[in-house]
């Protein structure tokens, strides 16, 4: 009996060994064929953005920008020569840190993902960046403006948008100098993005000689601001600054004006979207928002991008981050193409390849849609332009004195 049992094990081991050999043989043969022929590979560019909940209008724009960039790079001679093709892999972070980390893990566990273009919200980008760091994935955010993102000392984290410590003070300078506002009431939505922006605004506004009449926190999903409006009305400001996203910001603006507090609302790039005007209606008239970079039609490549966008997405409007996402995705793909040229296209998705992509991104220096793109030692963009926009007759436009 014991002999019989032992022989069964021997047979089992023999089968396993044969199977293992077949597997390695298969692996070996595919490897040899791919080195034999021209090395080609299809890799994925991950897009992490809020697509079903949160700032959906901005998130969908990120996806659109990335898709346009992927189509353009795939059609370029450099990518064809390197034998590398890119695919989009969208993950819906719902603007929520917990969901964002799940999405990040999903990206990290897919071996074909070579870089992440995302996320939108700073609150999502910061925890997700740690996941990408462990997976050696480069991450370029087109929109997260909280300074803390690039102050974690993570080598793989970059952004193509100007940070809040530039945007907040710039808004404060505009409010006190260009608009001659004296008393501000500062509200934020308790997210890292909103708090960072509001704090920077308040600091600079006081430095400029203005008075901050009140500082309040709300939630990023709040819809009821009635009690807050009464409080703001009692403080008597001549401008209200809101650090947050358009969903709640628009309702605050609407309820302010309905509640008889007829002063403009000012905010950051999170308000700069057509949805803001749709939700706030006529209350949005005369409200202000700063946004990163220069308006598209003032940029050399902006016209081309607008034309390309209209062709690919007829009937849709360019949102705040379409062009930034295009640039961010292009930076990742350019780096991947460069690495493919050096190591071979099939090596880009290996650990060494991904590390090489991070190094190549850090050395980026090219003229994008949104201007010249290069990164400082922390991974922040060297482009620090900020534009003030205002709503006139139901449309956002650059503010002119």
């Amino acid at each position: 009996m014991s002999m019989g049992k032992a022989s069964k094990y021997v047979a089992l081991i023999a089968v396993l060994v044969v199977m293992a050999m077949m597997v390695t043989a298969c692996g070996g043969s595919t490897a040899s064929t791919s080195t034999g022929t021209s090395k080609t590979a299809t890799v994925k560019v991950a897009v992490g953005a809020p697509l079903t909940a949160g700032a959906v209008a901005l998130g969908k724009g990120m996806e659109r920008g990335a898709k346009l960039a992927i189509a353009d790079v795939n059609a370029s001679a450099a990518a064809k020569k390197a034998g590398i093709t890119f695919e989009v892999f969208s993950g819906d972070d719902q603007g929520d840190p917990k969901t964002g980390v799940n999405v990040a893990n999903q990206f990290a566990s897919d071996s074909k993902v070579i870089g992440v273009m995302g996320h939108l919200n700073s609150g999502v980008s910061i925890p997700a960046s740690k996941v990408y760091n462990q997976a050696n994935l480069v991450m370029i955010s087109p929109a997260s403006t909280n300074p803390a993102l690039t102050q974690q000392g993570l080598k793989n984290v970059f952004r193509v948008c100007t940070i809040d410590s530039v945007q907040g003070p710039s808004a404060a300078d505009s409010a006190s100098k260009d608009l001659s506002k004296k008393v501000a009431f500062v509200v934020d939505d308790s997210t890292p993005y909103g708090v960072g922006l509001a704090d920077e605004f308040a600091k600079q506004f006081e430095k400029d000689g203005g008075k901050v009449a009140g500082r309040e926190k709300t939630g990023d999903k709040d819809t009821d601001f009635k009690a807050l409006v009464t409080k703001i009305g009692a403080a008597g400001p001549d401008i209200v600054y809101y650090g947050g996203i358009y969903n709640s910001g628009a309702l605050l603006s609407k309820q302010l004006k309905e509640g008889g507090v007829k002063v403009p609302l000012m905010g950051g790039d999170g308000l700069y979207d057509g949805e803001y005007i749709k939700l706030a209606g006529t209350a949005a008239e005369g409200d202000f928002a700063t946004s990163v970079g220069l308006p598209l039609d003032l940029l050399p490549k902006g016209q081309d991008f607008t034309a390309e966008f209209k062709k690919a997405y007829p009937g849709e409007e360019i949102a705040a981050y379409d062009a930034y996402s295009y640039d961010a995705a292009t930076v990742i793909m350019n780096a991947a193409v460069e690495v493919a040229g050096k190591l071979g296209a099939d090596k880009v998705s290996t650990t060494a390849g991904k590390k090489a992509v991070i190094d190549a991104v850090a050395k980026t220096d090219f003229e994008g849609i949104t201007g010249k793109i290069s990164f400082d030692s922390k991974g922040d963009t060297t482009n620090k332009a900020i534009t003030l926009y205002t709503v006139t007759s139901g449309k956002w436009g650059p503010f002119k004195k």
């Binding site: 697509l51 079903t52 909940a53 959906v56 209008a57 509200v187 308790s190 309040e216 926190k217 709300t218 939630g219 999903k221 709040d222 819809t223 009821d224 601001f225 009635k226 009690a227 807050l228 009464t230 409080k231 009305g233 009692a234 969903n247 628009a250 309702l251 609407k254 309820q255 309905e258 008889g260 949805e275 749709k278 939700l279 706030a280 209606g281």
Partner: protein, 328 residues
């Protein structure tokens, strides 16, 4: 200065409290009869807001009527009705009656359907089963709206001319706030009379005291339960339409926070007790507004839930609830 701010926050709080009371009644009605917490109730509030929004658009939005007329030819007649609805105060009143009526009936029937298919098969199952089923219904409804309608928030059209009426002492109340308060109070009074005075109300009270005994006395338990599942969601729908009008937008996730707050209100007042739900709703609304006004907006939820904990510690049955001996 201070007095006027307190007065103004009281007005805000009363309006908010009225909405909480309307939703809280739905929780308490169902709990009173079924001893079950209907976690899908917050989605009744959300559905009400959407049904109200779409009805209002069909009655008053020119482009939407034109587009609808392309599919349904008889809709073209609505253009002249639109002029009537938006033209005068009387037309607007009729328009609101239709909007609220449609929202109440549609969401009421939705509540009955949910009871029929998601809760009735589980009536003799362990108490946890219908609770989990309710959470499932809630997730289903949210995602259905997300998928079929829009993930983005939709602005609520401004049809009613809103202006402020000065109450003196620097306190003012808007016409919309008056509409919300008056409608809420009328509905609450109607429900209270209905349950206390009518024969069906008596049947409801009997069922709530002892379901089986009531059945033996010849009360049709199924229709009493269905009625509770009609009235509760219908009142929630009214609150939903008001929330859309008052705050300016509707979205698929709008039910969550008001749902939890109203549940809190129902517990504070004593769950299962109708007047308790009304008291709890108004108390919570006023406390929240005062907390937002005098502490900070960030603390309003903290204060609301801290009060829930305090009530549960010192009066576990709620303010008006009698401490019930556990049914064996």
């Amino acid at each position: 200065m201070l007095a006027s701010t307190i007065g103004q926050q009281l007005v805000n709080g009363l309006t908010l409290g009225g909405m909480y009371a309307l939703i809280a009644l739905g929780y308490t009605l169902v709990y009173g009869i079924m001893l079950m917490i209907n976690f899908a109730h917050s989605e009744m509030f959300m559905s009400g807001a959407y049904v109200g929004l779409f009805t209002l658009q069909l009655l008053t939005n020119q482009t939407i009527i034109t587009n609808a007329a392309k599919v349904l030819p008889f809709m073209s007649g609505m253009q002249s009705a639109r002029v009537f609805f938006t033209g005068s105060g009387f037309g607007l009143f009729i328009c609101f009656v239709i909007v609220f009526g449609v929202a109440m009936v549609a969401v009421g029937f939705m509540g009955v359907l949910i009871e029929r298919f998601a809760y009735r098969p589980l009536r003799h199952a362990p108490r946890l089963a219908p609770l989990i089923s309710a959470i499932g219904v809630s997730i289903f409804l949210q995602n259905a709206v997300l998928l079929w309608i829009d993930s983005k928030a939709i602005p609520f059209p401004k049809v009613m001319p809103v202006h402020d009426i000065k109450l003196g002492g620097g306190v003012s109340i808007s016409t919309l706030q008056i509409l919300i308060l008056v409608t809420t109070l009328v509905l609450l009074a109607c429900l209270d009379t209905f349950v206390a005075r009518t024969k069906i109300g008596k049947a409801m009270r009997a069922t709530s005291q002892d379901r089986e005994a009531a059945g033996l006395m010849g009360i049709d338990i199924n229709s009493v339960i269905a009625l509770a599942f009609f009235i509760g969601p219908a009142l929630g729908a009214v609150a939903g339409v008001f929330a859309g009008m008052y705050y300016g937008s509707v979205s698929f996730s709008m039910g969550f926070l008001p749902g939890i707050k109203s549940f809190t209100a129902a517990v504070i007042g004593g769950i299962g007790n109708l007047r308790g739900a009304i008291l709890g709703g108004f108390a919570l609304g006023i406390i929240e507004s005062l907390a937002a006004g005098f502490l900070s907006s960030g603390y309003k939820d903290v204060v609301a839930f801290a009060i829930l904990i305090l009530v549960l510690i010192f009066r576990p049955g709620g303010l008006l609830g009698e401490s019930v001996v556990e049914k064996v």
